[in-house]
């Protein structure tokens, strides 16, 4: 699946979450800051497990963070 097919709101949710830094989110999700940067920029599409961890870290449901932009059946 191409990363561009998945839209994410990580950056906005970070700011709504007490201006959480990329490093803080990375620590909570158990990844490197580079990975969070790549996810936010839409250059990297995370695995399902990481997507759940990011959503948990941001305190929202996964569908509020990631949305599929491809063709809808």
């Amino acid at each position: 699946m191409a990363a561009s097919e998945i839209k994410n709101h990580v950056r906005r949710l970070r700011f709504e979450n007490g201006r959480m830094t990329q490093q803080q989110l990375a620590d909570k999700a158990g990844v490197t800051r580079q990975t969070i940067i790549a996810v936010e920029a839409g250059k990297y599409c995370p695995s399902l497990a990481l997507a759940f961890r990011i959503a948990n870290a941001l305190g929202v449901r996964i569908e509020n963070v990631f949305q599929y932009q491809g063709e809808q059946g």
Binding site: M1, A2, A3, A26, D27, G30, V31, T32, Q34, T35, A38, A41, K43, Y44, C45, P46, S47, A49, L50
Partner: protein
Amino acid sequence: MNRWQKEARFTLIVMAVALALSLVTVGVLRFVFGFEWRSAMAGFGFISLMALSRVDPSMFRIKSKKPPLDERDLLIKRKAMIAAYWGFWPIFVLMAMAPFFVYGPDGKVPVIYLCSMVFAGMFVVMTLYSIAILQEYGRGGKDGGQ
């Protein structure tokens, strides 16, 4: 730049220096000192400097408690290994088959040729692996869903 990018960059630098030093030495021995090609090839001894790229991984060791590798890093490393594998085999097979056409089916292969096969293979693997690492990190690692 993370540990893997630094390691890849260091490897490429070491490889380039080893290759350049070898070629320059061969050239100097042949054209400046007038050695025969066979003797001048001794300059390729500098290619063994490639081993330096694996000498001290502690140079890149991360001291904090941050996760050293996450899923994106592993994906990038796997892609780099695949790139190195696909680059290595065609060259290795070509080098293995070349003596058949050069020396014939009953010919004798110089020992140095066998050694150079190993070094060429190592050179290709390490170079392609490092380039792929830098390229993948440079463009964000693409998608994790493969």
